[in-house]
C-alpha cells in the first residue's frame, strides 16, 4: 500500500513536469493537482494497477474483424491486422500499426500511429492506390474510426496518463467485483467530457466503459468480453462491443489469437516501412 503511494506520487511528478508550462501559467491548476483528493488517488491507483498488469508484453499482433451495425440492423465488416509496440516510458504512448485487408478496395492501406499523451497523435496513412504515404494533420481525430462507433482515441484509451481519475465505488459486474472509476481526458479535443470504467478486482482488467459526450450525457457503452490470458500474464479481450446509446448503432471488434514477442522494433514503426508491409 505504502509502496504504491510512493510510486504513484512519482508518476504524478512526471505528469506534472509534462504539463510544466501550464503549471507556471496557472497556479490554480497546480494547486488542484497537488491537492489530490483520496478518491483521485485511489482512482489513479486502480487505473495504474490495471495498466501495469499489462506491462512488459513488448509487442503484439492480432487479426481483427470489425462488424458495424446501423439502427436498421444492416451489417458490414472490415478486417485488419493490429500490431502494437510497447514503449516502456509511461509518459510516451505506444506505437501501433493497422494494416487493412478487407474490404478489398482498402487492402494494403496502413495506418501508423505514435500515441502521445496530451498532443494529437502522430499519424501516417499509406494509400496503395496512390502509392504514397500521407501524414494526417488534424487536431481533432475524435471522429469514428473507419465508420465504426469507435473513435481512434478509444483504442489508445489504456494509456494511463491520458486521463485524470476519480474513484467512485465498488460494485458487482457480472460474476466479478469491479472498482468503478471516473476518468477525464487530459488532452484537448477529446470527443468526451468523461468516461466511467469498470475494472475488476481479480484480474484488474477493464470490463466496461461508459462514454459521456460534451453535454455530459451517456453517448456510448463499451463492453470487453471473452478475456483470455497469454503467457499466464497478459489479459486480452477478444470481443469488444461498442453500442452508441443515442443513435442505436453498434460496432463489434472480434480479435483472433494474439501473438506476442513477434520481434518488432522501433524501426518497424516508421513511415518509410508502410509501403512495404504485407
Amino acid at each position: 500500500m505504502k509502496q504504491r503511494n510512493i510510486f504513484s506520487a512519482t508518476l504524478l511528478f512526471v505528469a506534472s513536469i509534462a504539463s510544466f508550462s501550464q503549471l507556471l501559467i496557472s497556479p490554480a491548476l497546480a494547486a488542484t493537482i497537488e491537492e489530490k483528493t483520496p478518491e483521485e488517488v485511489k482512482g489513479f491507483d486502480i487505473a495504474a494497477r490495471s495498466d501495469r498488469s499489462d506491462r512488459g508484453f513488448g509487442d503484439s499482433e492480432a487479426e481483427m474483424t470489425m462488424v458495424l451495425r446501423n439502427a436498421a440492423g444492416q451489417e458490414a465488416s472490415r478486417t485488419m491486422r493490429f500490431t502494437t509496440l510497447e514503449i516502456p516510458d509511461e509518459s510516451v504512448g505506444d506505437k501501433s500499426l493497422v494494416l487493412f485487408s478487407t474490404p478489398r478496395d482498402i487492402e494494403g492501406t496502413a495506418l501508423l500511429s505514435h500515441a502521445k499523451m496530451l498532443d494529437p497523435d502522430d499519424q501516417w496513412l499509406y494509400l496503395p492506390a496512390l502509392k504514397r504515404v500521407k501524414r494526417i494533420s488534424s487536431r481533432n481525430k475524435s471522429g469514428p474510426f473507419v465508420g465504426s462507433e469507435f473513435a481512434f482515441e478509444d483504442f489508445t484509451a489504456s494509456e494511463l496518463n491520458k486521463f485524470t481519475y476519480k474513484y467512485l465505488r465498488e460494485e458487482a459486474c457480472g460474476e466479478l467485483q469491479c472498482d468503478v472509476v471516473e476518468r477525464f481526458p487530459r488532452y484537448e479535443n477529446s470527443g468526451y467530457t468523461k468516461q466511467i470504467s469498470w475494472v475488476d478486482t481479480t484480474d484488474y482488467q477493464i470490463r466496461k466503459i461508459a462514454f459521456y459526450d460534451r453535454r455530459d450525457s451517456l453517448l456510448k457503452e463499451l463492453k470487453f468480453e471473452d478475456y483470455r490470458q497469454y503467457a499466464d500474464t497478459y489479459w486480452r479481450s477478444h470481443r469488444l462491443v461498442m453500442k452508441n446509446m443515442q443513435t442505436n448503432k453498434s460496432t463489434d471488434l472480434v480479435y483472433g489469437e494474439y501473438k506476442f514477442g513477434v520481434g518488432l522494433t522501433d524501426s518497424d514503426f516508421v513511415k518509410g516501412r508502410l509501403s512495404r508491409l504485407r
Binding site: L68, R69, N70, A71, A72, Q74, E75, A76, F100, P103, R104, D105, I106, T109, L111, Q123, L125, L127, P128, A129, L130, R132, V133, K134, R135, I136, S137, S138, R139, N140, K141, S142, G143, P144, F145, V146, G147, A151, F152, N189, G191, D213, R214, R215, S217, Q246, T247, K249
Partner: protein, 788 residues
C-alpha cells in the same frame, strides 16, 4: 306510420316524466359519468412531432423512417445568423465569433448529435504530403482582415457550404444542429427547443449587432404543440363566452343559459376525457374538437328550449311543458345527433391520425350532448326557476317564415332552375382549386416559428428532399461510374429552379482528389479508380472530429450514399413536378441499380393531400349513403331519404367551388371538411323534413301546407342554429393554425349554402316529387307558379 311516430312520442314523453321524477338520481348519475370520463383528461398530452400527421401505414413515412434508420435522424434546429444591417458581411470578427461560440454551445443542446457551421467546417488542404484537416474558423476574434476574407472566399466556393450554411454574398450564415431524440417522453422536444431559445438569447446579447432566427424540424414540432396549447387557452374561453352571449340573446332566460353551458361543458369533458383514456396525443387539429363539440352541442339544447318557451307562452305549466318539449324534439335531436356522429366518424377514413382523433372525440362529445340534452337539461329546467315573458319576435319571425314559404311555393320552378344554375356554376370552379401543404405556412404570422422561418427562407432552403442512392455492391460507392453518376445528378439538381443546395459526397471526393495531388486544381474531379476513392475516404474519415463524420451520408457497408436536394420556396405542385422530373432524370441517366426514391418530410406533406382526398372521397360517399339510410329509416320514406342526399351533398360541392373562386389554395384539411360539414348540414334537412313528414302524416296536410308548417315550426330554429354554428366556427378561424382556419371557413361556407338550399331548393324538390308521385291536381297554389 302514425303508430311508429306515436310510439316514439309516447316513449320520449314518458322517459322525460320519469327523468324529472327521479331528477336527483339522474343529476347524480350525469355528474358521476361526466367526472368519471373527465378523469381521462389528466392523461392528455400534446404531441410534439409532425409525424403524428401520418399513419403508420403511410408509405412515404415508412420510406423516410427507413432512410433515417440507415443514416441519421433528420430532426434539426437551424440558427440563421445575420448582421443587423442588411447587406453587411457575416465575415467580421464579431459575427464569426458569434458563430464560433454558437457552434460550440449548440453541442450542449439536449439530444444534439451533430452541429455544422462555417466555423467547424472541416477544411482540408495539402502541404506536400501532409493532409491538413482543421476547423475553417478558429479564434474568430483574432483573425486579420485578410484571414477573414480568405475564410469568406473558401466558404462561398465550397459547394457543401454555399447556400446551405452561408449565402453566396457571405451576408448571412447558419448553424445547423441535428438532434436525435430517445422518444421516451413528450418533453424532449420542448426541452431542446427551450435550450436553443436560451442559447439564441445569450448569443444575441453577447454579440451585439446580429439577429438570429430559429427554424427547423424540431422548432416545427414544438410549434405544433405550442399552437395547440395556445388554441386551447384562447379558443375555448372565447367559445364559452360566445355561447353564453348567444344563449342569453336567444333565450333571454337565466335557467336556459346556465343549463346550456352545463350541457356543453359536460359534453366536452366527456369527449376529451374519453380521448385521454384512449391515449390520444393532442394536436391543434384534435384540439379543435373542443370548439366543435361546444358549437354542435348547443344545437340540441337550443331546439328543446325554444320549444319549451313556446309551449309555456301558450300557457302550459313548466312541469308539463318540459316533457312536451322533449317529445316534440326527441326524433329530430336524435336523428341529427346520429347523422352528425356518422359524419365525424367517417373522418376515420382519413390517412391522418389527428383527424381520426378529431372525428372520434367529437362523435363521443355529440353522443354525450344528445344524452345530456335529454336528461340533464330537463332536470335542470325543472329545478331552476323559468319565467317566460310575452314577446313579439315570435310572431314577427313566424310572419317572415310564412312569407318565405309562400314565396318558395309560388316560385318553386324558377327556384329549381335558378338554384341549379348557381350550384353548377360553383361546381364548375372546383377543378381550379390548388393544394398546398408547406408546413411553414400552417402557422400564421402571430406564431414566432412562422416569422422566423420566413426570415430563414429569404436566404436558405427549408425543404430537403433525400435520395438514398444504392451502389452496385458493398463498397460500391467508390466506383468511378457511381461517383460520376452522382456528380451528374448533382449538376441536374442544381439546374432545377426550386433547388437551392445539393449535398452529394461527389463534392467531397473531388476536393480530396485535389488535396491528394498537392491541391492541384486540375485534379478537382472524381478519382479514376475505385481503390483510390475508397482510400481517400478512409483517410478523410480518420481525420474527422467527433460528430462531424460521414455516417449520416454513407451507409455502413458503403453500398449507398445520401444525396440531399434542398428546396427553396416550393409549393406542393412545384414539389410534385420536381419529384417527377428527378425520377425521370434518374430513369433516363442512371443504371437500374442506382434508381432511388425521393423521400423526406416535404415528400410526405406533398402527398398527404392526395392520400387524404382519395380516402376521404370514399369516406364522404360512405357517410352520405349511411346518412340517407338513417333518414330513410327515421322518416320511414325511401323517397325522402334519397331526396335528402341532394341538399346534403350539394353544399359541400358548392363550398369547394366557392373556395376555389375566393381563395384558390388549400391545405390537406380540405379533404376532411366534407365529413365535418356533412354531419352538421344534414341537421337542417333533418329538422325540415321531420316537420314536413309530421305535418303530412300526422296532421294530414297537403304538400304545400306541410311546407308552410315546416317553415313556421322549424324555420326560425334553423336560422338560429345556423347563426350559432357560423359563430362557433368563426371562433375556430381565430386559430393560428391554418388547417383549423381553413376547416372553420369551409364549414361556415357549407353551413350557409346548406341553409340556402334547405330554404330555397329542398321545398321546391319536395313539390316536384309530390307532383311526380301522384299527379292529382291539388288546387290553386300549385297552378300559380306556372302562371307567374
Amino acid at each position: 306510420m302514425d303508430r311508429y311516430f306515436e310510439a316514439i312520442d309516447r316513449f320520449s314523453a314518458k322517459l322525460t316524466r320519469g327523468i324529472i321524477q327521479f331528477r336527483w338520481l339522474v343529476l347524480a348519475g350525469v355528474v358521476v359519468m361526466t367526472f368519471g370520463a373527465g378523469a381521462g383528461m389528466s392523461k392528455l398530452e400534446f404531441s410534439a412531432n409532425y409525424r403524428t400527421f401520418f399513419s403508420d401505414e403511410n408509405p412515404e413515412l415508412a420510406a423516410f423512417e427507413n432512410l433515417q434508420a440507415t443514416y441519421t435522424k433528420n430532426d434539426n434546429i437551424l440558427f440563421v445568423i445575420e448582421p443587423e444591417n442588411e447587406g453587411d458581411t457575416a465575415f467580421t470578427n464579431n459575427t464569426l465569433a458569434a458563430v464560433e461560440a454558437l457552434t460550440a454551445e449548440a453541442w450542449k443542446i439536449p439530444y444534439a448529435i451533430r452541429v455544422d457551421s462555417v466555423s467547424n467546417f472541416q477544411y482540408t488542404k495539402a502541404i506536400e504530403d501532409d493532409l491538413i484537416v482543421e476547423d475553417l474558423v478558429i479564434n474568430a476574434k483574432d483573425l486579420t482582415p485578410a484571414e477573414l476574407l480568405s475564410r469568406k472566399k473558401i466558404s462561398i466556393d465550397e459547394p457543401l457550404l454555399v447556400n446551405q450554411l452561408v449565402t453566396p454574398s457571405g451576408g448571412v450564415t447558419a448553424v445547423n444542429v441535428v438532434l436525435q431524440y430517445p422518444e421516451k417522453s413528450l418533453m424532449e422536444v420542448p426541452e431542446a427547443v427551450n435550450a436553443a431559445r436560451a442559447l439564441r438569447e445569450r448569443i444575441e446579447t453577447e454579440f451585439s449587432g446580429i439577429n438570429i432566427s430559429l427554424t427547423g424540424v424540431s422548432m416545427l414540432n414544438n410549434t405544433f404543440s405550442e399552437v395547440g396549447q395556445m388554441d386551447a387557452g384562447t379558443l375555448i374561453p372565447l367559445m364559452f363566452l360566445v355561447i353564453l352571449v348567444m344563449a342569453w340573446l336567444i333565450l333571454r332566460s337565466f335557467a336556459g343559459t346556465v343549463s346550456i353551458l352545463l350541457v356543453i361543458a359536460f359534453s366536452t369533458i366527456v369527449g376529451m376525457g374519453v380521448a385521454g383514456f384512449f391515449g390520444v396525443k393532442l394536436t391543434p387539429i384534435s384540439m379543435s374538437a373542443t370548439t366543435v363539440i361546444l358549437t354542435l352541442a348547443v344545437a340540441d339544447s337550443i331546439h328543446i328550449l325554444i320549444s319549451l318557451r313556446g309551449l309555456m307562452r301558450e300557457g302550459l305549466p313548466k312541469i308539463e311543458a318540459i316533457p312536451e318539449a322533449v317529445r316534440l324534439n326527441f326524433m329530430p335531436v336524435t336523428i341529427t345527433s346520429v347523422t352528425t356522429i356518422v359524419g365525424f366518424l367517417s373522418l376515420n377514413f382519413s390517412d391522418s391520425p389527428p383527424f381520426w382523433h378529431l372525428g372520434n372525440i367529437t362523435a363521443v362529445g355529440i353522443g354525450a350532448a344528445w344524452l345530456f340534452s335529454l336528461t340533464l337539461l330537463p332536470v335542470l329546467m325543472s329545478l331552476l326557476p323559468v319565467k317566460v315573458k310575452e314577446a313579439h319576435e315570435t310572431e314577427w319571425s313566424q310572419t317572415m317564415m310564412t312569407r318565405l314559404a309562400n314565396f318558395v311555393i309560388a316560385n318553386y320552378r324558377k327556384l329549381l332552375v335558378g338554384v341549379s344554375v348557381v350550384v353548377l356554376a360553383f361546381i364548375a370552379f372546383i377543378p381550379t382549386i390548388t393544394f398546398n401543404d408547406q408546413w411553414v405556412e400552417y402557422f400564421d404570422e402571430r406564431v414566432e416559428f412562422r416569422t422566423d422561418s420566413d426570415q430563414a427562407l429569404k436566404h436558405f432552403g427549408l425543404y430537403p428532399i433525400e435520395f438514398s442512392v444504392p451502389a452496385l455492391n458493398s463498397g460500391g460507392i467508390s466506383e468511378p461510374e457511381y461517383l460520376d453518376n452522382l456528380e451528374k445528378f448533382a449538376v441536374f439538381l442544381r439546374s432545377q429552379s426550386e433547388v437551392i443546395h445539393v449535398y452529394s459526397i461527389s463534392d467531397i471526393m473531388k476536393r480530396l482528389n485535389k488535396n491528394m495531388h498537392g491541391d492541384d486544381q486540375s485534379f478537382y474531379r472524381i478519382p479514376d479508380n475505385r481503390e483510390l476513392s475508397a482510400q481517400y475516404l478512409l483517410l478523410y474519415e480518420l481525420s474527422l472530429p467527433y460528430g462531424l463524420d460521414l455516417n449520416d451520408r454513407i451507409n455502413v457497408d458503403k453500398s449507398a450514399t445520401r444525396v440531399t436536394a434542398m428546396l427553396h420556396k416550393a409549393t406542393t405542385s412545384e414539389t410534385k413536378i420536381f419529384l417527377a422530373n428527378s425520377r425521370q432524370w434518374m430513369a433516363e441517366n442512371w443504371p437500374e441499380y442506382m434508381q432511388a426514391q425521393p423521400t423526406s418530410a416535404q415528400v410526405m406533406f406533398t402527398y398527404i393531400t392526395d392520400r387524404n382526398i382519395h380516402n376521404m372521397i370514399t369516406g364522404t360517399i360512405a357517410a352520405i349513403f349511411a346518412i340517407a339510410l338513417i333518414m330513410i329509416v327515421a322518416l320511414r320514406s325511401f323517397r325522402l331519404g334519397m331526396l335528402s342526399m341532394i341538399p346534403n351533398g350539394l353544399p359541400l360541392l358548392m363550398t369547394f367551388g366557392a373556395w376555389a373562386l375566393l381563395v384558390g389554395e388549400v391545405g390537406f384539411s380540405v379533404a376532411t371538411v366534407a365529413s365535418i360539414s356533412l354531419g352538421i348540414i344534414v341537421d337542417d334537412t333533418v329538422h325540415f323534413l321531420s316537420k314536413y313528414v309530421r305535418a303530412r302524416n300526422e296532421k294530414g296536410l297537403s304538400a304545400e301546407d306541410s311546407i308552410r308548417y315546416a317553415y313556421r315550426n322549424v324555420g326560425m330554429a334553423i336560422v338560429v342554429n345556423t347563426i350559432i354554428l357560423v359563430i362557433g366556427f368563426l371562433v375556430l378561424t381565430t386559430s393560428s393554425f391554418k388547417l383549423n382556419v381553413d376547416m372553420g371557413l369551409m364549414t361556415i361556407m357549407s353551413i350557409l349554402f346548406a341553409l340556402l338550399l334547405d330554404f330555397l331548393f329542398l321545398p321546391a324538390l319536395l313539390l316536384v316529387m309530390e307532383k311526380d308521385k301522384r299527379s292529382v291536381p291539388k288546387g290553386d297554389t300549385q297552378s300559380a307558379p306556372e302562371s307567374l
